[in-house]
């Protein structure tokens, strides 16, 4: 059974919506926090509704609308969302007010909108979609499990499924994560991220929804072949064995992968896991990267899937993505991402 990506909406720290060339002029930001470039929301959401929505809900709802529009569809059969942190802004607002006001006279709106499923349910509410609605909040498996759920649904019957990965960074979350020592100092340019040779990451965020279907749409980007997740592998050998088994289960070998798109995030102590996979498992494939464009966040694979889908549709790899060139046309792309060594994932896409 083939699964096609028929429409995509992506809001990210790059200009990734509207009629713009594909990552031709990536934004150069100095600092350790990349923030999304947001669209004019009035084109996507009722102005009255926009006021009530926090930023992450706006980004989610608008990117869902973009994906549907590209696919030429009014309403999907199911909406499946992955978000590791959910609605942090509203959570922070309600917590702050609760403590500052000593539990008195609290506005319920931020509480109502603080639950992780608010994004997916607001999409359903605005589209009047009464079908299957699901939200995964499992760290760096959130988007991957949303996608797995969608693929399993499509195994059962022909449907159109809206599947997305959405996460925001707020001042509170940034300042708390900073105290954990996760970030680089703020003098790095994102475009030099992978050459920084320093510890730590730069924080990112983003929202991507995909309209996927067992029927190929007129605007189709790519086919999704399969995905896999691996939790807390003991060492690099287990990771490499897992990748080879994944390919074998698709009746493929590493030579069948034209481009390996890696989640390298510029953390000098952690990035070797990516380079080892690239050199040991995929010596003949082209190598691409994406986190200098979107930053590190737990649903960043949704951004990666947008990058890979665009490459397969266009048939060329933007220079900002390409790290190692080959002569092959990019027809099969494997995305390999991992988060803090605990959550590893693979998504395999093919041209269609």
């Amino acid at each position: 059974m083939a699964v096609y990506i028929n429409g995509i909406g992506t809001i990210s720290p790059q200009v990734t919506f509207g009629d713009v060339p594909f990552l031709e002029a990536p934004k150069d930001v100095t600092g350790n926090r990349l923030t999304c470039i947001e669209p004019e929301y009035t084109g996507w959401i009722d102005p009255k509704a926009i006021r009530r929505m926090s930023r992450v809900i706006r980004m989610g709802v608008a990117s869902a609308g973009m994906a549907l529009k590209e696919a030429g569809l009014d309403k999907p059969d199911a909406i499946i969302t992955g978000t590791a942190f959910g609605c942090l802004e509203d959570t922070g607002i309600f917590l702050t007010k609760m403590i500052e006001n000593n539990e008195h006279a609290l506005n319920p709106t931020p509480f109502i909108q603080s639950t992780h499923n608010t994004i997916g349910s607001q999409v359903a509410l605005l589209l009047q979609c009464q079908g299957y609605n699901q939200t995964y909040s499992h760290r760096a498996f959130s988007f991957e499990h949303a996608l797995l759920d969608a693929l399993m649904m499509l195994e059962e019957k022909p449907l159109s499924v809206l599947v997305g990965g959405v996460d925001e960074v707020t001042d509170h979350s940034f300042s708390i994560m900073n105290r954990f020592g996760l970030y680089k100092d703020d003098s790095v340019s994102n475009l030099n991220l992978l050459e920084s040779k320093t510890n730590g990451i730069i924080q990112g965020e983003g929202s991507s929804y995909f309209l996927i279907s067992s029927e190929k749409g007129s605007n189709a980007y790519a086919r999704i072949s399969n995905l896999a997740t691996l939790y807390k592998p003991v060492d690099g050998t287990e990771i490499q064995k897992w990748i080879k088994t994944f390919l074998m289960n698709q009746s493929l070998s590493s030579n069948d992968v034209d481009l390996i798109l890696l989640g390298s995030n510029g953390d000098v102590t952690k990035d070797s896991v990516y380079s080892e996979v690239a050199s040991s498992v995929f010596p003949n494939a082209a190598v691409g990267v994406f986190k200098h464009l979107c930053g590190e966040y737990q649903t960043s694979n949704a951004f990666a899937m947008w990058v890979a889908s665009k490459i397969l549709k266009d048939g060329s790899i933007p220079s900002t993505v390409l790290k190692k060139k080959t002569n092959q046309n990019p027809e099969r792309i494997l995305i390999y991402n991992q988060h803090l060594g605990h959550h590893h994932s693979l998504i395999l896409l093919e041209s269609c």
């Binding site: 109502i112 499923n117 509410l125 079908g131 699901q134 708390i176």
Partner: protein, 399 residues
């Protein structure tokens, strides 16, 4: 054709007991778990009754053999999940492809809300140990790591319908042949955050709650965890396990009406129940008992009640909400009530709807007032609905 998904293990902790046995005793004696707030200081302490698990964090940690308490959500989850695995009788868990799927709405909020008190005064203060397990997924991993499960780990958060959705996902993963055994359910601790959130919505009853009663005036928050062990038919036979029940049908829909309110006619809940029955391949007459979502709010009970009446007409089976015993345990409620539903099948019991007095005038039926024993319960329908219009229904059947 779908394969049989068996439930071979049950684990539960809630305001009415720290195990299946204690839970059954509470149902027999009609003992409610609702009482005053003791877990944290709050201006609502003597105003709003809640359903607390009767264990302090220190007692939980010591019971579990932990050196120091971790988040309450995770400890409640570990307690219930360990019980479920033990009850399943699986000896060589790691010889199978095993999944652990949990659900939670608050995650580590019970500790984050303490962190924030210091942090708001000075951003460089607040103990980072209190936020390190804030994420929903972190709660799940603390439990999964305790059980030694790593093949598939996931977390669902669809508010109050979350843990039914984790049981549904587990069933689908086994049905598709991706996993052999799944421990699925959910856990949520009582927090000041949720207490104040629901209070700001003005849907908390100042008295012990009265679900499905004409005089109902809101819900009581509860806490706890409920997990089931799901296995494929092959594993059941190969390991000579006992099937407590099977998962025979389920559905997940969205009401798409309002962020927090349900549609008056219960269109989402109607569709969820109808589709779950359809998948089970049974008729409305085959359902022997419905474990209601039944929170005790005006809106939920009227919407759910109407949807049931529309679907079942004059043949509404025995129904009750067990939330008058436990309080509304949010992300854990579907898991806890799945355990109750399977116990109903195993024991031939239908649970009472505690404190019920007056029938809702719009409805042609009323919930059970007394515990009923000695019944033949072949099929139980369990409902879980949540904020954001998320509606899930599941049918458990005699194996």
């Amino acid at each position: 054709m779908r394969s049989l998904i068996h439930i071979t293990g049950l684990g539960v902790v809630s305001a009415i007991g720290n195990s299946v046995d204690e839970t059954l005793q509470a149902f027999e004696k009609g003992t409610s778990g609702i009482g005053p707030i003791t877990l944290f200081p709050s201006i609502h302490q003597n105003q709003l009754p809640v359903g607390e698990v009767k264990l302090t964090n220190e007692a939980l940690a010591s019971m579990l053999g932990l050196q120091q308490p971790i988040t309450r959500t995770a400890m409640l989850g570990i307690l219930a999940a360990r019980q479920a695995v033990k009850d399943s009788g699986i000896k060589n868990l790691n010889s199978f492809r095993v999944g652990f799927i949990s659900a939670t709405t608050v995650g580590g909020m019970d500790r984050t809300e303490n962190f924030f008190i210091d942090y708001l005064k000075d951003k460089t203060t607040g103990n980072l140990d209190d936020v390190v397990h804030h994420e929903c997924g972190s709660t799940t991993e603390l439990i999964a790591d305790d059980l030694g499960i790593k093949d598939f780990i996931s977390t669902i958060n669809t508010a109050c319908s979350s843990s039914v959705n984790s049981i549904i996902l587990g069933s689908r993963l086994i049905d598709k042949g991706r996993l052999d055994v799944v421990v699925a359910g959910g856990t949520d601790a009582l927090t000041k955050f949720t207490l104040n959130g629901f209070n700001s919505l003005m849907i908390l009853d100042k008295e012990p709650c009265r679900p499905f009663d004409a005089s109902r005036s809101g819900l009581n928050l509860g806490e706890g965890a409920g997990f089931v062990v799901l296995v494929s038919d092959r594993v059941l036979k190969q390991e000579s396990l006992k099937s407590h029940a099977v998962v025979s049908g389920y559905a997940n829909t969205n009401d798409a009406y309002h962020q927090t309110a349900s549609s008056p006619e219960g269109r989402g809940s109607f569709a969820a129940m109808q589709q779950a029955l359809e998948m089970s391949n049974i008729s409305i007459r085959d359902i022997d008992y419905i474990n209601l979502h039944g929170t005790g709010t005006q809106n939920n009970d009227s919407s759910e009640g109407t949807a049931i009446q529309r679907l079942f007409g004059d043949e509404v089976p025995k129904v009750s909400s067990t939330k008058a015993f436990t309080g509304h345990t949010l992300g854990a409620s579907g898991g806890i009530e799945a355990v109750f539903s399977v116990l109903a099948i195993q024991k031939g019991w239908a649970f009472p709807n505690l404190r019920f007095k007056t029938q809702i005038p719009e409805l042609n039926y009323k919930p059970l007032q007394e515990l009923r024993k000695g019944l033949t319960i072949n099929h139980v329908l369990s409902n879980s609905f949540g904020f954001g219009g998320n509606c899930s229904s599941i049918v458990f059947s005699k194996g």
